[in-house]
Every structure is written in structure tokens, then in C-alpha cells.
Symmetry: D2
Subunit: 340 residues, 4 copies
């Protein structure tokens, strides 16, 4: 890190910063500029609290130099990770073949899910998604089928070979969900739920980590780092839109995070255009764009009857629209050297 | 809600919307305007999923009319709530007397906390804050003392009579923390952790609910509603800054939420200027502003030696600065007819 | 618009709203719901100030139903506009063939521009961009060559047949710039400069309108409406990134605006990934994504020697990188049925 | 500035950065850390384009150390500026006495303005505001009375002694407006209109500079710097809310900018709570908060009949509400050692 002193700071103030740096077992290097003095701090300061230095008299601010995450970074692991997803089709995420996670927002009933699972497989999906436990902003809305929903998903896997991804919302659900699912999903509202990150990090199931809707890049990578550090290297990142001043979408899909992740990390990243916009009519266009940008896969909400979906109808595709979207996206995938 | 049809929609499309509205057991009222047709929906639609209607052909958008929360609203409970906080000083939040929650970001050791507790009481604080479990974005940073920290806080209460507020981070911590603390704090990262909201809602301890750093007003009120619905009416709201494009602060303190809460809800609201800006030098100014705006209290980080604080040193006040801030804020409190 | 009354409003308050609606020569329709009364206002209220109603006693809020723009909308003009751009190559924007505007951020010298113009043409560009007048946040930075720059651009057009686009920054520059340029660019900082919008609306040159970096969709369309209303129907929209909390990019490229514009308006929309991210390494990925999303063209900064560019070096491509980007983007364009 | 190299960069890449730094006539200082190499650049680099270095191979990013503005900073001018405002009452901004600019959003007619001017003076206002030229997002809305409006304002000054502030929207209006007004207002949409900043910088009238609704702190200070550099040292800053994800206000009033300006600059800063929230009921609360935070004044919209105001009725106070707000704010002003 670099400690930038205020203009007109005293020598004593600089010495005090140097003393604190040495207390941290780091090395200091003072540079006197024409207007400002800075103290360059040398050594691995990831474990140090830079606010200590920020509060010293005479200090203007502290600029971190090292990325705060380490094992999620490309430097530590130069090759892109290819993550096996389970199911009997050999689905993976991160390789040449794109991973398509599709299915209803919520598991509503058995026949719905089984029918959708077959349609999804037929049109190129590799993973079946569906919520059994639903995080709802509104306590009066449908909260999911719970374990019954997990059983239905597992039956769909048996029939189709698709891997299963479903959300886990709290520490006490982890073991239960991991018994049924192939991939554990951490939702956007839980990206900063560190206890939950550690809990899924202690399972041997791959984790689909959705970006917090107002998280920074570093916070997203640190959430992945929490999981990996707890013992689970199989983390798939997922962009699902951020909250901005834009009002014609529910969220702003920030696709430039795809090249950023490719540059800074070895982890695969997929894109969820349904939550990322909140409008079904935008989903096909954003699926094509995500794949063109270099994403490793997609998450798509599909429902037989979006009008009667219990949750998120407005952003779900019908099976026909899904088939059409897959066709269009496949053409783009081929244009960028990927398979779908 | 109001269903706004697209220009040029067909009669069949309008009829279809009407049919779905009636399926929801709500009443419809079709209004044909000069350019647009709208379907006004009459009845309590809080429990209905409006995305069902958003996905119908011919529908442009759906505009909610009713606030999604109910029991947190001023209509349901016209008198402002005054919430008893515990401790032996009879501290409350929501009345004429302001509630000042102060203390270190983290509980670090016994003598630190006891010494601070006495200083806080002397200068007008009514509640002692201190983190025993710390949510850290970075897995490599200090995570708190756990139950040992709770014991120290309880001892400080016994010595001073101050009530104790501390954060609870997950469902499995709720019982433990409730055994020691007078007020359970839900942190900004957990405002959307619905399982946790329900769990604290089942205790009989008042809850300090921090606003999610990118939550909307309605989401904030719905989080309070989750807690109240689970059986616990004693919710104190806390503004702690939102994430914006501003770069000279860690968060943007959005003080206009104070008059908004006063108008829409009966719940008290306090302000946390330290997290709300991230810069210690702004804290005194923002404490005065919060009280002038009509807030019911403040949360202030105080540390004997901010430079050696294990967390959040940069935004902590020394005991002397705290004393000075209280003095200045007291003058403002009196100017607006409050006591401190 | 819909006037939503507060709960518990009086009959007199409703009558007063009705009276004001009628003063506006609009029709009213009062609907008494189970909890709220609303007054639906019928007629073209685009020309009315809804804040008049918002300030009435008993009114909670006013919800607009009609889009505030009209002649930029798809309803008024159902066919997509194809806009002729000038130059001798017959370049257009909005048709099957994508429009690629490329060139240096600033015009720096004659040989630079001529050399780049030939390279751009060779690799598929149709319009040469280059700034002669530069809006600089910092008064100490390079402000552009002025008219000399315009002459150089005109010479490049003569040599290559490329059309010329360049920014006009103030009303007094409009005539001068229109004498040389084929397309007048309104920069992001001037999207709300209404006098300037009217001034370019009175010329007969097509206008490239960049979205304000924090404008809403409606504001963007209204800025286009200003130009069209002044007499100039040839407006090309340009997404160039919005300001958000994201810190790893200079701006967040909001590609979902592409399907939104396609649905709501007849105007073409292009994308500027260089300003839209601020990082050169993201440009190729975002060019592919923009075209896959359905954009009608791209704006790309190209410079022979990005390191010695006087402005925006960090987001410029070298001619070789431009050639490679065009090749990759062409494959995506074909996959979505467009030409490049 | 500090050039942060990528991990694993080559010696040649570092040498190349050093070479470019020296080409800029600056000094370099290479520091080899345990994981990263950084090149500290010594000298006044305000006039240099750091994007040149950002685009070098092997460079990760460039961190500026010096603030980009200079003459607006506290270092250059340690004493706070007190700016004389004109009128016959000796009004100033920046001293112990608060400056209150009040009046209608738009000048609508003579008797309206004269009557308001007297009421404003009576209740403690020192400057009369009113728009003669109105920037309207919507081309169909009222655009102001133009010069006729300026004449009315001047007459009100003669009758009351209040100074006059009004907005100037384009370079060609500057001379006209400066002939009538005492203070030239630059609106939020024009904070980045650099030609206009220079034009008002060449007059001898004080300038009220409203913050762009999505500008950063540095951009705000640089806009002031443009004006001062053009020869006019009398700049008053004005916070008027920023655009965020919050939906219950039109803008988020960011009051922490007050202590930030006080620390970094010598210029006075006032606050406009009406635009800063967009809701009249929040104005009194935010006036008190702004003064408690340390602002040097307020801008308040007042209208005899907010329901029939041609613009911004929803955020205007009636004269009675203004009188009450002034009374409450005066008590807060005294509590923080100011006069009103």
C-alpha cells in the first residue's frame, strides 16, 4: 500500500507512520515529492488493517496496491479452471462448451419440473435450475416448497441426466441441500453472508456464486476467496445485474465484468440475463451479448406458463422462446469459437 | 395496482388481463384513455405477484399503488413507537430523549471496553455498542472475539447500567447473542437475510436494523415488516449510508430518509455517521446534521486508540473527540426540541 | 397520469385534485379502492406539469402513464429509421449493414489522421471520428486543434470517402462544425444542454447523440425529441456507459439499452465501448457483445501510438488491434444476420 | 502519481515506463515490492495525461496522488473565502452570517416576484432567486420569460435591496444575464459545460456553481477551477443532490460534501434541499441538517401558490412554510455558532 501524507505534514507525522508500518512487520520507503510525501509500504499487507494508517494525523489517504484476494487470482492459478458439475451428462463450466443452467424460478410441482427438464435438455441445456427455498423481499410472497422441491429436482436429474443447481439460503440448510443438489447456489443477497460462504466452502459440491447487486469487483472475488479458503476450489461466478439509477430495467447487466474476470481470475463466469434485466423481452438479446463477451455460460429462467408462475413470471421464457434463444445464441457461440 | 397496456393493444389482451385479475380474487376497472388503456386493480394485492401481469401480451408495465409493507406503516400505527432498550438507565429510542449508541467497532479486550463504557456514559451515551462477531469482507481480517466478547459487554453493562447492542450474523448465533445483549443488531449485509430476520423476530429483544447499503425504502420497510410479523414489534431503523458513485466517502449518508421514515412509519430511526461516511473527520458534522434532521439517535464508534483499533480505526472517534461531538450535538438537539 | 391519494385523504382533497385536473383541460376518473383512492387522468398530459398535483394536500404521488416523448417513439414511426451519413461510400446507420465510426480521440496532426483514415477504411470502418474541440474535465489538459482539426478531417474524407463525425460543444460552434462535418456529435456532458440540442436540430446534418452518463431512458429519448422537434429527424443514439458504484471500469456499459431502444423507438443506436469501459483490453469483448445485442454500429477509438496519444490513450486500440477486433466482430455480426 | 505494474511484468516494461516518465519531464522512483513493482512519479503531473502510462504493456493501473485542482484548494488559499454578493444589504457568502437565496423556481409575473421578494426579505432571506431562462428536460414544458424575467428581478432588487441570482444557460446569454443579475448561477446540467464556465469566469459577477448530479468531488472542484482560472475568484459551491438508486426522493442530498469542501477548499458551499430531495415536505428537515452540517447558506424555492407554479411546484414552500422553516433553521444556526 501507499500512504499519501497531507500537504504540509510534519516530519514527526511521517516518522509516526513509519513506526506503525514497522509495527506491522512491513518495510517502509519514504518518497518526498514536490508537493506531497508518500510512504510506500513493502510486503504482503493483505492481512493488515489499512484504516489504522488512515486515522494517523497528517495522513490524507491510503492506496492499496495488492489485490485483496489471492487464491482466486490468475497469478496464483494461471490456467482457467474447468469445473465438473455432476449429473450424468458430464457437464462442466469453464471449458470450450458453454454451460446452460435453465429452469423455473421456483419449483412449483413435479410434473412442471419434469416436463421442463426434458425440454431444457432437448434444446441444449446442461443444468436444471429451480428454487426450493426462495429469498423473498416481501414476507407475504411464496417462499418455496423446501425439501419436497429438492426431491422433485433429484427425480428430474435421474430422468434426464441434467445436473441440478438450487439456492441455499442459510447455514442450517447447507447439508440438506447438498444431499440433493449437484451445485449449490449462493444468491445475490447472500454474497456478503460470510458464515454461509464458509459453510458451502466446507462441502464438496461446486458453488454458483451470484454477485451482490451492489458489490465491487474486489468484494466479489473476496467472496469467492472465502469459499475456496474453506476448502472448496470449485466456484463459478455469476453476473446478475447491479443496482443503478436506471429505471427501465430492474437491474443493469454489467457485461464488462466478463473480460475483467477473465483477466484477473481463473474462475469461470456465467451470466443471468433474466435477473440482470428483469424483463423477459431483453433476455434473448442479452444471452447473445453475454456469450459474445466471452461468458462461460448462461442461467435462464424457463416456465411453461409464465403468466401463472408463482415467482418471476415477468422474466421467464416459455419453452419455445427458450428453444429459439438457444438457437440464436448457438450461432453467436460458434462465431466466438465456443460450443453450445 | 395499475396495469398499463401497450399502445395498440387488442381487446383480447385487455380481456385476458381482466381474467387474470379476477383469478387473483381482485376487482378490475378498465379505463380507456386517449392513447393508452389501463386496468385499475382494486383490493389488497400485497399478496399477489404482479410479475404475472407484467408478462402478459399487450402489457407495458404494472404500477403498484399500495406500499408493500403494512404493519410497519404509520397508517396501521399512527403514534410513533418508543422502544425500551434495557440496561438499568431506562434507555429508550423514539422519545424526546435521543438514544446514543457508542463504543468500539469490535470488542478487543476487557479493560478497553470497561474504560470506554464509563467514558461513554459520562458524556451522555445510553447504549454501549461493540462487535463480538464481525462480518468481514476479507477472510484474512479479524473476525471478532465471539462469546468472550459478549461476556465483556455484559460486564460493562453491570458496571455502568448502559444497555448493550451487538451484531448477530446468523441464525445459529441468535440464542447465544440474545442471552447477553439487550438489543440485537442486524448489519447492513444481512438486511436481506430473511431467515435471520425471522429468527430475531422470534426473540423478545429489540432489534436494531441497519439499512442495506443499496436497499430501497420499501425493501428497508419490508425487512422491518419481516421482524414485526414474526412477533417482535420493537424494531429500530438505522441509516448507515448507501453505495453511490461518490468516491471521497466510503458511503453516501442519505439523511433525507429520516423525514421519509417519520412520514411513512411509526418506527424510530437513528443514524450511523461513521459507517455512513467512512471518515472520522466527518462524524461530528454528520452527527449534528442527523439530529437536526430529526433522527431519534446516533450510533458512534469510539476507541481509545483509533490507530491500534483492530477494525474501522479510520472512522472511530477518540473519547475526547466523542465528548466534544456530544457537546456540539447537544446544542443542536436542544435547538430542535430534543434532549441528549 | 394516475394521482394516488394518501390513505385517509378527505373527500375535499379528492375534489380539489379533480378541479385541478379539469383546469388542465383533462378528464378525471376517480376510483375508490379498498385502501387507496386514485384519480386516473385521461388525455394528453405530456404538456402538463404533474408537480402541480404532487403538491396538493392529500396526494401521495403522481404516476405518469404516457411516455414523455412522442416523435422519437416507435408508435409515431413504426419502421426503424435508416439514416444516411454522408461521405462518398453511401454509409448509413440503422440498416442491415453496421456502421463503424472509428478514429483518434483527438485530431492531433494531419499525417496521423490521414494514415488512420486509410487503415480504418481498409478494415471496414465507414465513418471517421476525431475530436477538434475537446471537452476536458481538467482545464490544464489539451483542448483540441479547433478549426485546423476540422480541415484535416475534411481532407481525410476527400482521400477516403469516409464520412466525418466530430463533436460540437457549444451553440456558437454549430455552424462552423456543420460546414466541415457530415455528422455532428453531441457529447455525454451536453446531452442536457438544451440550447445546443435545438441548435443542431436546426441544421441538416445527422446528429450522433451520446447518452448522458447518468441520464434515464426517458431523458435520453427527450434529448432526441428536442433535436427532432427543432426540425432534424436524423438522430443516432449512442450508449457510452453510465456512472455507477463499479470501480474497475471508468463507466458501466449498459447494453440492455439496445433492446429497450429497439422496442420503444425507431431511432438507430450504436455503442461506444471505449468510453463505456475506459479500458482498452475490454473493447474487443464489448464490441462483440454490442453487435450480438443488436446494436446498429460501434464507435471505436484507434490511435497509431496509444502511449503518445494526447487524450484517452488508455482506451484506444492500435490499428492492428482494430483490424483484429473488426474481424472478430464481423463473425458475430454474421451470426446475428448483420453485415460489417 | 504511482504507476502500479502487473505481477510478473518484465524489466523492459518497467524501463519503458521510466522512459515515458522522463519524457514528461518528471522524475521516477522504482520500488520493487514482494509481489508488485511500482514506479513513483515525482513532480507536478497535473498537466500530464496519465492514460499514456495506463496503456503501456505491463502496467496494471495508475494512481493519482495530487488533487487535480490547485487554486480552488485550501493549500493555495488557507483562509476561507467570503464572497460579496451585491444588492444594497451587504449580503455575503462564507462568513458567520448564513446566506439564504430564496424565491420562485421560475419568474412567472411581476406582482408574484415583488410580493415574494418582500416576504423573503422579511423572514431573513438575503438573495432573491428566480429563473428567467429554464433548462427543461422536456421540450414541451415552460421555458421561462427570458429578458422580461430579468427586468422583474432587477425591479425586486431595487425595492428590497436583496441581491439577485439567476441561471445562465449558454455562452450567448452571459452578457445579458450579467447586466441584470448580481450572481450568475450555473445549473447542475451545465457543470461540465466548460465553455460556459470560462465565459462566466470572464465576468466580474460571483458565480453560484451547482454540482452536477453525478459528478465526483474532484470534478466539482475542477469546474470551480475553470471559473477561477478564467479570472473570477468568486465561486460559491452548491450541493443539490446526486442521482442514486434511491426511489423515494428525486435526488439523494449528499450532505457529507459540506465537511469535505471545508477541509479541501476555501470556497463557501450552500445547500439546495428542494432540488436535493424533490419533495417539499423534506425541505425544512434538510435545511436544518445542512446548517448543522456547517453549510454557508441555503437555496430555497418559495411560491405563493405551489399548486399553480409553472415549474417545480412539488418542491416549493409557501411563504408561511418558508417563514417557519427560517425560524427553525435560525435556532440550529445559533446552536452551531452562525447567524441567520
Amino acid at each position: 500500500m501507499i500512504v499519501v501524507m497531507q500537504e504540509g505534514c510534519t516530519k514527526q507525522q511521517v516518522s509516526h507512520v513509519v513506526k506503525l508500518v514497522r509495527e506491522m512487520k512491513l518495510k517502509d520507503h519514504v518518497i518526498v515529492g514536490t508537493e506531497r510525501t508518500v510512504v510506500a509500504v513493502i510486503g504482503d499487507d493483505r492481512f493488515k488493517d489499512r484504516s489504522v494508517l488512515e486515522s494517523c494525523p497528517g495522513v490524507d489517504r491510503v492506496v492499496p496496491i495488492l489485490a485483496p484476494y489471492k487464491i482466486a487470482s490468475r497469478q496464483t492459478h494461471p490456467e482457467p479452471s474447468v469445473i465438473p458439475l455432476g449429473g450424468s451428462m458430464g457437464a462442466t463450466c469453464g471449458g470450450k462448451r458453454l454451460c446452460v443452467m435453465a429452469g423455473p424460478c421456483s419449483v412449483e410441482d413435479r410434473s412442471q419440473v419434469l416436463e421442463l427438464a426434458h425440454a431444457i435438455k432437448e434444446h441444449g441445456g446442461t443444468v436444471l435450475r429451480g428454487g426450493a427455498f426462495k429469498p423473498r423481499t416481501n414476507p407475504y410472497e411464496f417462499q418455496g416448497l423446501g425439501e419436497k422441491g429438492l426431491e422433485i429436482l433429484a427425480e428430474a436429474r435421474e430422468q434426464t441426466g441434467l445436473a441440478i443447481v438450487t439456492e441455499v439460503m442459510s447455514v442450517d440448510q447447507v447439508l440438506l441441500v447438498a444431499r440433493y443438489a449437484d451445485v449449490l447456489q449462493i444468491g445475490t443477497r447472500n454474497m456478503h453472508n460470510f458464515n454461509l460462504l464458509v459453510a458451502v466452502g466446507r462441502t464438496n459440491k461446486p458453488v454458483l456464486l451470484k454477485r451482490g447487486w451492489s458489490s465491487t469487483f474486489n468484494e466479489f472475488m473476496l467472496a469467492a476467496e472465502y469459499i475456496i479458503q474453506a476448502g472448496n476450489p470449485n466456484v463459478i461466478l455469476c453476473e446478475r445485474g447491479i443496482r443503478t439509477h436506471e429505471e427501465y430495467v430492474r437491474n443493469t447487466l454489467a457485461l464488462a465484468i466478463v473480460p475483467a474476470v477473465k483477466r484477473e481470475s481463473h474462475l469461470p463466469i456465467i451470466v443471468d440475463p433474466a435477473h440482470g434485466t428483469g424483463r423477459a423481452y431483453m433476455v434473448p438479446s442479452m444471452c447473445r451479448a453475454a456469450v459474445a463477451a466471452g461468458a462461460d455460460g448462461l442461467m435462464i429462467e424457463v416456465h411453461q406458463d409464465p403468466e401463472h408462475a408463482l415467482t418471476d413470471g415477468a422474466q421467464s421464457l416459455s419453452p419455445d422462446a427458450f428453444a429459439q434463444t438457444m438457437k440464436e445464441t448457438r450461432a453467436v457461440a460458434e462465431a466466438v469459437g465456443r460450443e453450445l
